[in-house]
Structure formats: C-alpha cells, structure tokens
C-alpha cells in the first residue's frame, strides 16, 4: 500500500504563551528565540496513522512538506519514525500561501508522485489553524475525504475510519484512494528509534521547485492566495486574577470557597 503524508514545519505550539509575539507592522509572528520549530502535532499523528498501516500491511510512506527554511533535522523526523521517502516543496515562491495556494501546490505534487492509496494530513496546523488544506487537496484531486480521524484501518480496497464527532465517533467506510485528516485522539506518535535516526541521517530529501510540479510561481504561495490577511494581532489579557491565600493550602481552599460565596458564584 502506498501512502503519502503531508507535514508542516511550524513554530513550536508548546512554547510558553508569554514568549509569543506578533509584529503587527508586518502581520507576522516573531519566532521565539531559542525555540526550535517542530512538525505540527496533528501532522505527527498523521504520520503515526500511516506507520500503523505500514506495520500491519507493509507498503511505502512518502512524506511531503511545503515551505521555506525547512530545517532538515525537523522535517526528517518522520523518516526516523519509519517513513520511506521525503519530498520537499521548497522555494521562495511557495512562501506565505493560504489554504488555497498551499493545497494547490501539494495536490500538484501528489499528482506527480502518482501512485497512492491513501493521503494523510493533520486535521489543522498549529500555526494558522485553518483546517482546510486536507479537504482542499481531496477536492482538487477529486478524492473522497474523511476528516478528524481517530483510527484508520484498511481491507478489501476500502478504509474504515473512526471519525471524531461531538458526542463520540462515527465509523465511516470510504473507497480508496482517499484522503484522511487525523486528530490527536489517534494517540501519541511513536518516538524515533536510534536505528531510525541513523537511517534518516543518510537519506536526502528530494526538493521540488514550482516547475518540477508543473505550476507557475504566480499560482502558489502568496501570489496564489484567495484569502487576504488584513490584520494579525494579540488579544489583550486583562490579568486581573485575585489570589486567595491562607496559612496552609487547606486554608486557602476554604478561603476560596468563602470568596466564591461572597461573589455569589456558589
């Protein structure tokens, strides 16, 4: 079985919120100093979903990433987890895209890869939280999609997907090839093994430019956007927390209850 997983390099969402800064003049986030970027967490869940199928049925996993300034030690992580190949769409032309232009470039790259049964994406990326690229790729390639998966299995040319919904989950059967977006409910992605890390070190990613996937630079990245970012800003925190104290933690607990009664919250 041939699988493709799309991953995105993002600013580490686990970095302390206090270190988060926006440069409002340029509508950009200032990367926190000293914090290495990571693969967007839901994308790691997507890698894990593909690896579980490879463990069970064999096959090949191609990892695809789009961006600029992609750190090899970051984007190679899926290889060290057990993926087979890494293709990077890395060019200035791909920078600052929206869901439309990003999905378009990824869809064209997937067309070029050609042979696939399943495409996996994270449900949304930890930076823009747009949640559209997976569905967008499926639409552009004319594939069925199932979003927000917590479990994926395949048999008889079909995938069985547990899709997370508000009160639990639905079991959805979908014909292959298909695109599936994955959520954290799938479970923790595996850690790379030492052997995997050594193997990944020796592998070089394949880098594709716009011409390699048959697109004009004007169709991708910032030039290909269909949504315009007018403004990026940080909401104001009022920081008005009233701290309740006591001689001991227990007394503080009692005082908290009294305070809530006073505030008519109990």
């Amino acid at each position: 079985m041939n699988m493709i997983v799309c991953i995105k390099q993002v600013i580490d969402p686990e970095a302390p919120p206090a270190s988060f800064k926006v440069d409002e003049a340029s509508n950009r986030v200032v990367p926190p100093p000293g914090v290495s970027p990571v693969i967007s967490p839901f994308d790691e869940n997507a890698v894990e979903a593909a690896l579980r199928l490879k463990d069970a049925y064999g096959g090949k996993i191609t990892v695809l990433s789009l961006g600029t300034g992609l750190l090899r030690e970051v984007v190679k992580k899926p290889l060290s987890m057990g993926a087979d190949e890494l293709i990077l769409l890395e060019d200035e032309a791909f920078a600052d895209g929206d869901s439309w232009s990003t999905a378009y470039a990824l869809a064209m790259a997937i067309k070029k890869i050609g042979d696939y049964d399943l495409i996996f994406c994270g449900r949304q990326a930890a930076d823009w939280d747009a949640g559209q690229v997976g569905s967008g790729i499926a639409e552009m390639l004319g594939l069925p999609s199932v979003t927000v998966a917590r479990k994926v299995d395949v048999s008889d040319g079909k995938a069985r997907v547990e899709r997370v919904v508000a009160d639990g989950y639905e079991v959805v059967e979908v014909s292959l090839p298909a695109l599936i977006t994955v959520s954290n409910e799938l479970g923790e992605p595996r850690y790379p093994t030492i052997k995997g890390i050594m193997a990944a070190k020796k592998m070089e990613p394949i880098v594709w430019k716009p011409a390699d996937i048959g697109v004009e630079p004007s169709q991708v990245g910032a030039a290909g956007r269909r949504a315009r970012l007018l403004k990026l800003f940080q909401p104001v925190h009022e920081g008005k927390c009233e701290f309740i104290e006591g001689e001991s933690p227990e007394e503080a607990g009692v005082n908290l209850a009294l305070k809530l009664r006073e505030a008519k919250l109990l």
Binding site: P13, P16, P17, A18, F20, V29, W100, R123, D127, W128, D129, A130, G131, Q132, S135, G136, E139, S145, T147, V148, R160, V164, V165, A166, D167, G168, Y169, E170, V171, V172, E173, S175, E185, G187, R226, A227, R228, L229, L232, F233, Q234, P235, H237, G239, K240, C241, E242, E245, P249, E250, A252, G253, V254, L256, A257, L258, K259, L260, R261, L266
Partner: protein, 332 residues
Amino acid sequence: MSQAKGVMVFAEVAEGKLAAIATELLGCGRRLADDLGEELSAVLVGSQVGALAQEAIAFGADRAYVIEDPLLGDYQTDSYLMVMEKVARELIPQILLMGQTSIGRDLAPRLAFRLETVATLDCIELAIDPESRRLLQTKPVYGGNAQAIFTSQFDPQIATVRAKAMSPLERDSSRQGEVIRLEADLDPQAIRTRVLEKVSEEVEGVRLEAAEVVVSGGRGIGGPEGFKQLEELARLLKGAVGASRPPCDNGWVPDVLQVGLTGKVVTPELYIAVALSGSSQHMAGCSGCKNIVAINKDPEANIFREARFGVIGDWRKVLPAFTSKVKELLAE
C-alpha cells in the same frame, strides 16, 4: 464578483430541533444582512427537517430553503457537498455561514474549494467592512495566541463560526417568511462513503456544553483516580467535568470531555480549572466564561492570566478542603 447577493445560513438540526449554533448563526446573519441591506436565508438539509423551516424564520431568516432526501439522514461529505454546491450555484449567496461543528468543519472547506475559493474556519467575529462591503472574518490563530482578520474577493464568502461566539435573536413566532423546497437531485453512486456505526461516548449527568458549572482537570491531576475528586465537586455543584488535552490523550477521561480549540466550547457561569496550565489551545474552549477559578501550584501558569480567582498550591491539598467547605456552605 458579481450578482452574488444575500446572507445564507446552513442551519444544522440536532435531535429534531434547530441546533443552538443554527440560532446563533441566524442572529449573526441577520445583523450582517441588515448591514448590507439584503436578505437572510436559512438552508435546512436532512431526511426530515421541513418542520423546522418556520423555526428558522422565527429566529431571524427571511426565507428558508428545505432540501429533504432519505439519503441525507446521515451527514456524509459527498452528499451534503452535492446539495450545498447546487444551492450555492443556484441561489448565489454573497455570504454563507456554517457552524464550527463536526459537519461545518468538514463541509465548509470542501464546498469552498469546489466553488474555487477558501473558507475561514472557527470565526469568533464577523462584520461588514463599511468601505469594501466585504466580510471581515476574525478567527483565533496559533492556538489562540493571536487573532487574524481575513477577507476575500471571491464569492460566496464562506465562514464557520465558533459555538457560543454569537447571540441568537429572541424567538419571534410572529415573524413571516417564505419556505421553499428544493430537490436534492442526489446521485447515490457519487457518495463514496458509508456511515457504518455511530458510537456515543457521552458521559452520564449534566452535558458539558450546557453545564452552568464546569470543573476541569489538566495534566497535573496525574491519573484517572484524581478525576473522581473533580466528579465529586462537579456533582455537588450540579455541573459537569471537563479536561484539557493531556488527560484525554492519556486515557484518564473520555475524549468527549476535552475542552478547547479542537474539543468543546463551554460558557458556564463558573469554570474551575484544577492543575491545568491553561494553554491557549485549552483557553479557546472556555475563555467565554467570566468566572474562571484556577488552582495550580505554578504561579507562572498561564491560567492565572485568565482567571478571576486563583489559589497557588497543590490541588491535592487545596481541593479536598475547598470541596468540603463548598458542601458546608451549600448545606446552610
């Protein structure tokens, strides 16, 4: 751009009623339509939804379109996409609003791409730009650390809206409107998925989304046993238990208890956050609550930036004393 006109709301139905999010969207849509001087329509899609058309009008729609078909009983991407593509192409709305729900977050992007545009998901604010008359779409980004305002020159302008971000209008059963039935024209062969089973993991007691009091635990609770103490407090306050992501990911509590960006959005009167750091992703699900109470041993925890009252201390010591005092006060 174009002959596109009017504001349209995709009105979801839940348990035979208009979903709360549908009434919120109608409230917001009414305001946008009035600002544009155009009409507000509602679209109801399902196997048996016609009876609710009048309800959508009572909540603010000028017109309600009903598309009923036995094949539309379960939400499936392909079938709903076919229906909404047809609606959008025939009725040419300028703005199309959906809820940020299991359906909306799946349908909105696919529909947008089919109509050769992009949507903006999880909006918390929508307004008409007085100059361009385009829709200003504000959504949290970077897990809630920032907010972005997007606009698009392409029609329809499609946005999904976060639960409880908008207020419904007062229901007015005297409101008049037109109900129009449309054919679904579905091709069953083109539906490439099948729903085999629906599994509810809803826990007993007060529903999290409807609770007036929510007691949430985070990573610091340390395991499933600790949540028993939170349950005791929640029961006492007639509330519900919630959690941040780590307790769900670790299997201490079911996933349906997750409050946050990718979980549930709650707006109780009182939100008690125990041993929970208050990541932006989590706060996205509860920051609408005005009375957040935090118990955390880390004075630097982000939750204290959002809380109204806080105790710095080990929850294992603070919480039992708090709970028994609450019990005492409620018994008075």
